[in-house]
């Protein structure tokens, strides 16, 4: 059987990990070789994802490059993968960030180098798998499998509180996802009841007519799993721990890709599978999102630790994404997907540079720095650019997404935009204030005066990030065009079902009233 591009994109990192396994490195002699092999594999994966994009028909909302093989036929489980505009871009993002994560670990990972890169590659494979899966069972397998390498990355190579953070990360995510498993099984069972055969095929399950009461519970199960992953306030408490304790590469991947799996889950699964429940819950989720936006920003403002600050800023930014999804119109949804990509690039970049500072000084406290512009002007420039991108300065990547989200949310209910707008202002406050304290002024600690500027491998990771931040800000169409048909389809699917239901007033046994009016 032929192996398509999509399969290659996740099998290649697995193969790379297997290759590393066979490089003997008991005494650390081959660390260099291992780094290079990993870098080459991850760049090759990125090339594969770009090839995917090249062969992708941007005008079509359908899933493309589909591969399908029976896997567990008795239950209608298939190895079924494909991409549409939304998942394509997220896969490309994963492919893009992994080499950067590899470079960020180039010298900062000193012990057990081989195992570190094995776990990193396995993590990449699982993340790509999550975005590719069109079979809910397959999706769940990747979703859960992803936890294991991340757990080890945090737990072995993290900072002081790493064990606590790693276990917390694992248990939080699992607790959410197992309930989703029940809902997935329930869906397959409903499909069996309706058609006489089990199926985990997402496209078939989309067409299933699910009773409102069932939708209510299943949506909750899915939503909690994704809300923990996003993380949506008040499920966010694992995030600061995981981020702060993870090694730089872990933070970059965590912020850049892993969190997107939660918002992606909302877009791909929770909302279109259960449109009625989604319409019912959307205002509540949006309220949580707005709380998250403001809360994350306020907490970020008072953090003494740079990494923690960036972690809380993620809570705030991801709140925007969720708000955009809840708006359930094309603008909002498109903005949400765009913001996922933009946040991946800019927050990935922030963690990367904070990691560089932390490698040099072995501290991440803002008060330990100051006046860094003098010894390291180039790093400062890069950080400035990424900071502005993160704030949402027009012309950089953060602006487009936030703007579209606000537009979408405004069309839905202007009240949310007030809260979200406050978050935009606050983000400028906490980011610029940190920037000022770290980089401007006089060198307050003599150790900082002699810090080296960007090293060669750091250039390698900073340049692509800055470049893409500018490209995304100036030419958003490159990214908006492929996702538009897919986003439109998701929105239409939800609206169709909702209007059908509203016309048919027949909604029995609904907890409260699921038929809310939508604009």
């Amino acid at each position: 059987m032929a192996i398509g591009l999509l399969s290659i994109s996740w099998l290649l990192p697995v193969a790379g990990a297997a290759l590393l396994l066979f490089i003997g490195n008991a005494d650390g002699r081959r660390d260099r070789l291992i780094r290079w092999v990993t870098l080459i594999v991850s760049i090759a994966v990125f090339a594969v994802t770009l090839a995917m994009w090249a062969s992708f028909n941007a005008g079509s909302p359908e899933f493309q490059l589909v591969e399908r093989h029976p896997w567990i036929p008795a239950f209608g489980i298939d190895y079924y993968i494909g991409v549409d505009g939304i998942s394509l871009l997220l896969v490309v993002l994963t492919g893009f960030l992994t080499p950067i994560a590899v470079l960020s670990s180039w010298i900062s990972i000193e012990k057990k180098v081989k195992e570190f890169f094995i776990f990193l590659l396995l993590l990449e494979a699982a993340m790509i798998g999550v975005f590719l899966s069109l079979d809910l069972f397959l999706f769940y397998v990747f979703w859960d499998a992803m936890l294991v390498p991340m757990y080890f990355l945090i737990g072995i190579w993290g900072y002081d509180q790493r064990i606590y953070a790693a276990i917390k990360f694992m248990l939080y995510t699992m607790a959410g996802s197992v309930l989703m498993l029940i809902a997935i099984l329930g869906l397959a069972y409903l499909h069996n009841a309706a058609t006489g055969s089990y199926s985990f095929d997402l496209l078939k399950l989309y067409t299933l007519d699910i009773a409102p009461r069932t939708q209510f519970w299943f949506f909750l199960a899915f939503a909690v799993a994704f809300a923990i992953k996003v993380p949506l306030f008040p499920f966010h408490t694992w995030l600061p721990d995981a981020h702060v304790q993870a090694p730089t590469a872990g933070s970059v991947i965590l912020a850049g890709v892993l969190l997107k799996m939660g918002t992606y889950g909302f877009v791909r699964f929770a909302f279109p599978l259960f449109p009625l429940a989604a319409a019912y819950f959307a205002p509540w989720i949006a309220v949580l999102a707005v709380i998250g936006i403001i809360y994350g920003a306020l907490v970020a403002m008072v953090q003494p630790d740079m990494k923690k600050l960036v972690a809380y800023s993620s809570v705030s930014h991801l709140g925007f994404v969720v708000l955009g999804i809840c708006a359930m119109n094309v603008n909002g949804m498109q903005g949400a997907v765009y913001q996922m990509l933009a946040h991946g690039v800019s927050t990935g970049g922030l963690f990367l540079i904070v990691g560089m500072l932390s490698d040099r000084r072995h501290t991440r406290l803002i008060s330990e720095f100051g006046g860094l512009k003098t010894p390291m002007p180039r790093l400062t420039a890069a950080f400035m650019l990424i900071t502005l991108a993160s704030i949402g300065l027009p012309g950089l990547n953060g602006f487009i997404g936030e703007f579209l989200i606000m537009l979408g949310a405004f069309r839905w209910d202007p009240r949310y935009v007030v809260g979200a707008g406050l978050g935009v202002i606050l983000s400028a406050v906490y980011m610029l204030w940190m920037f000022q304290r770290v980089y401007y002024g006089k060198v307050t600690h003599s150790e900082n005066a002699t810090l080296p500027d960007l090293l060669p491998h750091e250039w390698g990771s900073v340049i692509p990030l800055c470049a893409i931040a500018v490209v995304m800000g100036v030419f958003p169409t490159i990214f908006l065009k492929p996702m538009e048909p897919a986003v439109t389809r998701v929105v239409e699917r939800m609206q169709n079902v909702q209007t059908l239901r509203v016309q048919n007033v027949n909604v029995p046994n609904v907890p409260n009233d699921l038929t809310v009016r939508r604009r």
Binding site: W71, I72, P73, A74, F75, F137, Y140, V141, F142, D144, A145, L147, V148, Y151, F152, G155, I156, R162, I163, A166, I167, M170, L171, M174, A175, V178, L179, L181, I182, L185, G186, A188, Y189, N192
Partner: protein, 481 residues
């Protein structure tokens, strides 16, 4: 198999193991003092014979003497038990020499226990089930205390013996009641008699059912009849614990499922709620108490209690999926758990069991391979993909969901998250803690390493390509229920 008279074909697997057991006994008798003899090899030959004959009997639906049935259900469990036996013997090759366990007696007892287990899985008469139960129990009591110089092992054996005898009495009493009510001990006849009865006419049926339930619950260590398990599992040599926690459980479960899903099937509406409560309590207690353990064997004892609870979920669901799920789960659990205990056994020393959690600190640095294998086992026990344990759990919970037992499924998944917490504690110890003192380097012999490798490959095979085994499990239940 054609040359063998049809009437005894169904007992060939059992005979093969029994002959191997006798051969081991004879070999021990002829062994010179201090002569090294591959006695375990004889056992493996016998077990392979059993596996081959079971494969020949597949789909044959043979029966011997009216009390042993060679149906696919029994054969599937037989194959699982053979796998358990072979892995146990392979792990033992290192342990027996190291700990000075008398090899002849040890292997003979293992094999006789297996004979009892296979008999229990294939028997279709309550009395034969009882005899099988006694054959396996007696062997396992002795195995528990086979290291006589170890006080803990002796205590464990005695406790296990007393409570086991107690539960056997319950079981026997249940058989007596059933016989009194139905006039037969044969499962088919009991089933056809009971199908025409109603509980209101004949409340004694509930008594018979309850007593049998208690007997089985003891053997599969379901709450509240689990008290003996942690002590027995902790006290016994690690490899024997692995053997008990998989083999005995598989055999007892096979008989449990056979009796309750065929003979007492007409009253499933009456026993299902009771088993529901037992299953929920077993899952919860097993995981919650497991969290508090600091001894690895004891922790895995509680974990195996919890796994018994998951199996009970399949029994409660009692639909096609549930019955097949029990079989698949038994296979997945048996291999995983045995491999985990295998690692514990291999890491032990004669004078020191090395089974406290803190003994695993920094194991990764001294034994990277063993730690990786142990991690795979633990992740499989915790039900993470892509391992056998994940597919097993998924199968069990899909049975529960399709039978409408959402509550049980939710308890199941939540307890499995809790269980991941304590499995991860071991992983944390191995990978994320430094060891204070230099760990002694332990040499693992080739046979044990092969066994571990095979087990790990099987765990991934069942986790990634489960279709064939799932189909086998589905076929197995098609023939009898």
């Amino acid at each position: 198999m054609r040359s063998i008279p049809a009437a005894i074909q169904a007992i060939v697997p059992m005979l093969s193991v029994a002959l191997a057991a006798l051969a081991c006994m004879a070999a021990e008798a002829f062994r010179e003092k201090d002569e090294r003899m591959p006695i375990g090899g004889l056992g493996i030959v016998g077990l392979i014979g059993a596996a081959i004959s079971a494969a020949f009997l597949w789909n044959g639906n043979t029966a011997s003497f009216g009390v042993i049935s060679g149906d696919n259900f029994g054969l599937f469990v037989t194959l699982v038990l053979v796998a358990v036996g072979i892995l146990t013997i392979m792990f033992s090759s290192q342990v027996v020499d190291r700990d000075g366990i008398p090899a002849g007696e040890y292997y003979t007892l293992i094999l006789f226990a297996l004979v009892g287990m296979i008999m229990m899985a294939t028997a279709t008469d309550l009395l034969v089930i009882f005899i099988a139960l006694e054959i396996l129990s007696l062997a396992v009591y002795v195995l528990t205390g086979i290291r006589r110089e170890d006080a803990r092992a002796t205590e464990a054996a005695f406790k296990y013996f007393l409570l086991g005898a107690f539960s056997s009495a319950f079981f026997l009493y249940g058989i007596a009641f059933t016989f009194g009510l139905t006039g037969s001990t044969h499962l088919d006849r009991i089933g056809s008699y009971l199908a025409a009865q109603s509980l209101s006419d004949n409340p004694l049926i509930l008594v018979a059912l309850g007593l049998l339930l208690v007997g089985f619950a003891f053997k599969i260590s379901a709450v509240p009849f689990h008290m003996w398990t942690p002590d027995a599992y902790e006290g016994a040599p690690a490899i024997v614990t692995g053997f008990m926690s998989t083999g005995v459980k598989a055999a007892a479960f096979a008989a449990f499922a056979r009796v309750f899903l065929s003979s007492f099937e007409p009253f499933s509406a009456d026993w299902a709620p009771i088993v529901w409560v037992i299953a929920a309590a077993t899952m919860i207690l097993g995981t919650v108490v497991g969290v508090a353990q600091t001894n690895l064997k004891r922790m895995l004892a509680y974990s195996s209690i919890a796994h018994g609870g998951y199996l009970l979920v399949g029994l409660v669901a009692a639909n096609e999926v549930g019955k097949a799920a029990i079989l698949f789960y038994l296979a997945a659990y048996a291999i995983t758990n045995l491999a985990a205990f295998g690692v514990i056994a291999l890491l032990g020393a004669r004078d020191r069991a090395n089974d406290e959690l803190r003994d695993y600190a920094g194991l990764w640095y001294s034994h990277p391979g063993l730690s990786a294998l142990m991690t795979v086992c633990l992740l499989s026990l915790g039900g993470l993909p892509p391992t056998a344990g994940f597919i097993g759990k998924w199968y069990i919970f899909s049975a529960a969901v399709s039978a409408g037992y959402y509550g049980l499924a939710i308890i199941g998944v939540l307890t499995s998250v809790i269980s991941v917490f304590f499995y991860l504690r071991v992983v944390v110890m191995m990978y994320m803690q430094e060891r204070g003192t230099e760990a002694p380097r332990i040499h693992i012999n080739a046979v044990s390493m092969t066994a571990l490798t095979v087990a790990i490959v099987a765990i991934f095979y069942l986790g990634i390509l489960p279709t064939q085994v799932l189909n086998l499990a589905a076929q197995s239940i098609a023939t009898i229920f």
